[in-house]
């Protein structure tokens, strides 16, 4: 840099960086500094509450009063509570039916979008819309669609088609309300499944299909022996996510029915909320939340083993 001055000093000392720069260039410190914000936040607001939640489940804490250890009393109390068991049943039922619906329809939509069609990117953008919009807001739209007096579905079926003579009572009794919630959940879940599976479909090499066509395969055989096996790894991941987040769903049920009529549509999450926050029984709410953990662990292990097969965590690209 000093080339313009008269005497060129060839042996110019490289400026010694300040101690701060050197500290940040020291790898162990740099690693520590880089990991600190993420790990710190996750430890304080995720790991610690998780432990605290499990501790709370074994205490008698309420809002404004620190609990003391009471052992399994909360769980014994819950085991005799028919509303708790009905929420467990509905959580499992809701997850099972909604997952089957989402994946059936989502896979179908992905296969449709994988064809050569005009306006493909526009269609893809439209399809994702239900997933982008805040769940509660689309749930309110569904609430209005399911309204007892002014439902557009009832209007269509009764006044236009004339198939029935009475309006549907979607949310007024237990089973119709349960199915209505499942339908709304499927509606919201299809886009995510379809778009992620579409990405999986696009990684399958067309030459496999060409080879299969030359061998005289039928459409079903191509799906069964090429598409499905190659889609399986991504399907397993997406399904784990979907199962976990459907099982712990809260927003949809809270927005549309708040657990009613007569507690018949409570999921475990909504019941935990109702008992824990407005009801003030923190410990009981925490116990219900902790009761969800075994199901989640099961789903996570499923994910881990499905993923471990691909050895992707090692950071090697083997696909």
């Amino acid at each position: 840099m000093d080339a313009t001055t008269s005497a060129i000093v060839w042996t110019k000392q490289r400026p010694q960086p300040s101690w701060l720069v050197r500290l940040f260039d020291w790898k162990p410190f740099l690693i520590f500094a880089c990991m600190l914000p993420a790990i710190g936040l996750l430890m304080v607001f995720l790991t610690y509450p998780l432990g605290l939640g499990i501790w709370l489940a074994f205490t008698d804490a309420t809002i404004g009063r620190d609990g003391k250890w009471i052992g399994l009393e909360n769980f014994i109390w819950l085991a005799e509570d028919p509303i708790f068991w009905s929420s467990v049943f509905y959580s499992v039922f809701y997850t099972a039916v909604a997952t089957v619906g989402k994946f059936g329809l989502g896979l179908w939509l992905a296969l449709l979008l994988n064809n050569h069609i005009p306006f493909k990117s526009l269609l893809r953008a439209i399809v994702l819309l239900p997933w982008i919009v805040p769940t509660v807001l689309s749930a309110i739209a569904f609430w209005w669609i399911y309204d007892a007096q002014f439902s557009v579905i009832s209007w269509f079926v009764v006044d236009v088609l004339g198939l029935r003579d009475r309006y549907f009572d979607f949310l007024g009794s237990a089973w119709p309300a349960r199915w209505s919630l499942i339908a709304a959940n499927i509606w919201r879940g299809i886009p995510f499944v379809a778009i992620t599976l579409l990405a999986g479909l696009q990684t399958i090499s067309p030459s496999l299909y060409e080879a299969a066509l030359l061998d005289g395969s039928t459409g079903w055989q191509r799906f069964r022996y090429i598409t499905f096996p190659l889609l399986l790894p991504i399907l397993a991941i997406v399904m784990t996510f979907s199962i976990i987040f459907t099982f712990t769903d809260f927003q949809l049920v809270y927005a549309i029915t708040r657990g009613g009529p007569v507690n018949s549509t409570h999921l475990m999450a909504t019941l935990a909320f109702q008992r824990g926050i407005p009801g003030g029984q923190l410990a009981e709410g925490a116990a219900i939340a902790v009761a969800m953990i075994p199901f989640l662990v099961f789903a996570t292990l499923f994910s881990y083993f499905a993923l471990a097969r691909r050895k992707w965590q090692q950071g090697e690209s083997n696909d």
Binding site: A61, L112, L128, L137, W144, I145, F273, L296
Partner: protein
Amino acid sequence: MSDAAAAAAPARKESATVTPELMSWDTRTRRVVTIYVPLACFVFILLFPFYWMTITAFKPNHELYNLRDYNPLWISSPTLDHINHLLFNTAYPSWLMTTMGIAIGSTFLSLFAATLAAYAIQRLRFKGSQYVGLAIYLAYLVPPSILFIPLALMVFKLGLFDSPFALILTYPTFLIPFCTWLLIGYFKSIPYELEECALIDGATRLQILTKITLPLATPGLISAGIFSFTLSWNEFIYALAFISSSEKKTVPVAILTELVTGDVYQWGALMAGSLLGSLPVAIFYSFFVDYYVSSLTGAVKE
């Protein structure tokens, strides 16, 4: 060329049977029935609630509650009453601002933490970094539904109850894992040689991060940012549990708890609120749809 084709076509029709044409007609119908009709049904079902939301927001009440005399699928006299009511008789503008502030704050916080963590895991490569990566991934699988009760207690003890900071600090719990995972994938795609060159030229690690890796990972940062913004905009359960005073609520919570009063639901205002609450994310999304899709699928494919 076209002449030759035109000449060839009738000739072939005479010599061969009509089957080829029938086949082509058949496949075309088949295509319509197996692809376009189901696709149209999907698009209709996926979009109908939005159409219904929009149309309700602009419908006067007497049309809204009279299905016999007015066609519910159309508006005969559109009105802005509901939106007017929402903007001037409720705290809607302040809810929007709060939500926006919280979403931006938590997005920046998580992007900052996630970028550094992803860089350390993917580029600094310390012993056990893969396990840290896996642990962060597993953190994503812990749903807010099992955390909100202990978090509510913590927030209360920390004196953050009813303050937007409670949400800005807790949203990163589900944003950081996702962003870190996404950015690890992006950093992986940047050639390591670039960093080695910079090291030889005497750059420090931080200079490498700010001058080489981050500019190259901009698409990844944008995807992660958009994703975080939408997720925090849509978050519900923490906002419901940690905020109690009316004017500090976020849009999804406020619409559900403040606009639903008594037994008579203001459907017009509810739908107008839902529409306006959905618009920012929808507009945001429409600008960056490709980044969004790539982040969604990239994270799953990784």
